[in-house]
Symmetry: C2
Subunit: 351 residues, 2 copies
C-alpha cells in the first residue's frame, strides 16, 4: 500500500525548511505520497483555530507527519488556547505521540561550532526520550483566578499516572537496547511527589522490561549541570514533559546549532509519528531563505526510519548531510553563507 | 549590638567547608559571635527529625545563617518529609527566605576550567534570582494515590500568588539597579497557566517598581539553551523555584566548578538571611579533607554583604579568593592537589 507523508509547514521558517525536506523525500523515497495541510498561525489565519478537526483527522490517517514550526509575534496577544502553540499541543495529544525522541549528536565537521571545548563534545551521542502528552503540560486543574480573599493566583497540576510512565519508560528501554544500553531517568524526586512516583514507576518497569539495560536516576538540576560538565557520560536520558523540554534544548545547543537537530514523536505501534525540527519558527529570519534546512531534513530522516520503515533511505540522508558538512557546506547559523536552497542542493549532491 | 552567625554544618562535606568559612570569619569579622546547631541527616541522627523546632527558632533569632550541605545515602530510604532535604526546605520556608540569589561569575584564573570556550565565559557575571518558598516545591494538593479506577498517580500543584511574584520581582529589580540594569524573567508562559500568570505579574510590578531597569521575558527552554550558547548576554535572571533550580545549576557549571559558587537566600528586611554553597553534601568525598572550601567561604562573603552589613569584610574575602587563585591555589575539583585546609590557608595568606 502506498505510504503517505503529511506536511504541516506551519509558520515562520517552517514552510522554507519543510520545502527543503520535501525535495529530499522525492529523491530518496519517490513513491511516498506527499500531502499538505495547515497548523499553527497559518491555520488561525485561514480557519480561526490553530488546528482544525479535519486537519487532525487527516494527520491520524497518514503514515507520518512532518511539521515545520509554529508561532510568531502576530499571534501572541490572544488566549493561550487560541495561539499557534495550542495547535502543536493539540496535535501531539490528538495523535497520542507520547514518546518524543530528541537525539543530540555532533557531526564531526561541526565540533568547533559548539560553545563547549572539543573534548567535551567530540563523538557526543545522546538520545533524550521525553514524555510528551502528560505532566504539567496537560494536568488539571489549571487556571488563573482570584481566591476568596481577593488574592490572584495562577496554577497548574503536574501529574503522571502509572500507565503513562510505563509506556514511555518501555520506549526508552527499547531504544537503549539498540545503543550502549544505559538509561538515565531524570526527576526531582527529592522535592516533588510526582517525581518520587516517576522514579518508583520507572524502577518497577525496568525490573520487568529492562533486561540488558542499566538504569540510573539523576536529579534534574544535577542533569542540567552534568550536560554542561561532561555530556558524553549519557546514553539515553528519560525525562518527563517539562524537564525533557529544558534538558533537550540545553543538549541541542551542545552540538553547536539548534538548526541541526530533529525530533520524532511516537505513539503506539501502527499509529503515525510526528516529526519536527527542535528549532522554532524563527520569525526574525523568516522569509529570507537563509534558514538551516538540516533539522527538517533530519526529521524526515527520522520519519523514514521510525514510521515509514525505510532505514536505507534514512541512512542515505544521514550520510549525505555528513558529507555536505565535511565538504564545507554551511548556512549562516553555522558560520557560512549558503541559502536554504543552496544548502539543500549541497546535500542533494551528496546523496 | 553584637551580631550572631549561626553555623549549620549539616552532612557530608558540610562540616569541612563550614569549618573553613568559620576560620575566615574569625579573621575578617572577629566580633561576630558564632553559634552552631544541627540540620539534615545530622539532626535526624540526634533528634529523629531533619530540623527541630528549637533549631528553627534559633535560626530565626540570629543575624545570618551559614549552612554547609544536607543529605547522603544513609537517609534516602525514608519518606520524603523525614529526609535531610526536608530540613533544608523547612528552614527556607520557616525563615521565609523567598529570594535566592545565585551569582554565576568566573574568576579570571579559572576560565580554563570551564567546559565552555574561553570567549564564552571570560568576564561572565550573571545573578540568578530564584523564588525559593513557593511554586511546585510547596504547592497543595500533592501526593501519590490510587484513583477510583485503581490507577496509581503522583501529583503536585505548581502555584504562584500575586504577592509571591511581586516580592521576588522587586528584589530582582533592585539588584539589577546596582548592576547593568537588565532583568530577564523566565517562565513557560506558552504552556503553563502559572507561567502566564508569572509573566503578567512580573510585567505589572516592573511598571510600578522598574524605573531604570529593562525587563525582558524568555521561555525556560530557550534560557537553558542560551545559557550554553551565549551566557554573557544575561545580567539578572529572574525565575521561579523549579526553573531557578535547573537554570542556576547549569549556570554554575559554566564557571568551571560547582565548588566555587555561593548563594544567599533573603527574606524581608530585618530577618536573617540563609547562606549556603550551591554544591551538595558530596558523600563520595566526605571526610577526606579534600573538598573545595571556596563556595562556603564565598557564602560567608555574601552573609557579610547582605545580612551583616559589612561590605568591607566581604570585599576582603572576595579579593583574597581571587588572589589565591591567581597564585595557583587549587583543590582537586579545580585540577590541583590542595586539601581543604591548605586551600583555606592560601586564602588566609591573601587576606
Ligand atoms: C512550542 C512549545 C509549546 C514546545 C514545548 O514546550 O513542548 C517547544 O518548546 C518544544 O519543545 O517542542
Ligand atoms: C537539595 C534540594 C532540595 C535543593 C532544591 O531543589 O532546591 C537543591 O537542589 C538546591 O538547589 O538548593
Amino acid at each position: 500500500m502506498k505510504q503517505t507523508l503529511l506536511l504541516l509547514p506551519g509558520d515562520g521558517i517552517g514552510p522554507e525548511v519543510t520545502a527543503a525536506a520535501q525535495r529530499i523525500c522525492q529523491l530518496v523515497a519517490p513513491d511516498v505520497a506527499i500531502e499538505e495541510d495547515l497548523v499553527g498561525g497559518a491555520s488561525i489565519d485561514k480557519h480561526g483555530v490553530p488546528l482544525t478537526a479535519a486537519a487532525l483527522d487527516r494527520a491520524k490517517s497518514v503514515d507520518a507527519i512532518l511539521l515545520g514550526a509554529v508561532g510568531g509575534p502576530k499571534w501572541t496577544d490572544v488566549a493561550r488556547d487560541k495561539r499557534p502553540e495550542a495547535g502543536l499541543l493539540g496535535l501531539r495529544k490528538g495523535l497520542d505521540v507520547f514518546a518524543n525522541l530528541r537525539p543530540a549528536y555532533c557531526f564531526g565537521a561541526l565540533v568547533d561550532a559548539s560553545s563547549l571545548k572539543r573534548d567535551r563534545v567530540e563523538g557526543l551521542d545522546i538520545m533524550i526520550v521525553r514524555e510528551l502528552t502528560s505532566g504539567v503540560y496537560f494536568g488539571e486543574p489549571r487556571g488563573i483566578e482570584t481566591d476568596a480573599n481577593g488574592v490572584r493566583r495562577g496554577f497548574d497540576m503536574s501529574v503522571y499516572t502509572a500507565p503513562e510512565v510505563e509506556r514511555v519508560t518501555r520506549v526508552a528501554l527499547e531504544i537503549a537496547r539498540g545503543r550502549t544500553g544505559r538509561v538515565c531517568s531524570v526527576d526531582k524526586a527529592n522535592v516533588m511527589e510526582s517525581g518520587q512516583f516517576w522514579r518508583e514507576e520507572v524502577t518497577t518497569v525496568h525490573k520487568t522490561h529492562g533486561d540488558g539495560v542499566e538504569l540510573s536516576h539523576m536529579l534534574a538540576d544535577a542533569c542540567a549541570m552534568e550536560l554542561v560538565r561532561a555530556p558524553k557520560q549519557f546514553d539515553v536520558i528519560l525525562a518527563d514533559n517539562l524537564f525533557g523540554d529544558l534538558l533537550s534544548d540545553a543538549a541541542a545547543m551542545l552540538t553547536g546549532s539548534i538548526g541541526m537537530l530533529p525530533s520524532a514523536s511516537l505513539g503506539t505501534e501502527g499509529t503515525p509519528g510526528l516529526f519536527e525540527p527542535v528549532h522554532g519558527s524563527a520569525p526574525d529570519i523568516a522569509g529570507q531563505g537563509i534558514a538551516n534546512p538540516c533539522a527538517a531534513i533530519l526529521s524526515l530522516e527520522m520519519a523514514l526510519r521510525w514510521s515509514l520503515a525505510r532505514p536505507d533511505a534514512a541512512d542515505r540522508i544521514m550520510a549525505a548531510v555528513g558529507r555536505a558538512l565535511e565538504a564545507g557546506a554551511r548556512t549562516r547559523d553555522l558560520g557560512g553563507d549558503l541559502s536554504t536552497t543552496a544548502m539543500t542542493d549541497a546535500i542533494i549532491d551528496c546523496l
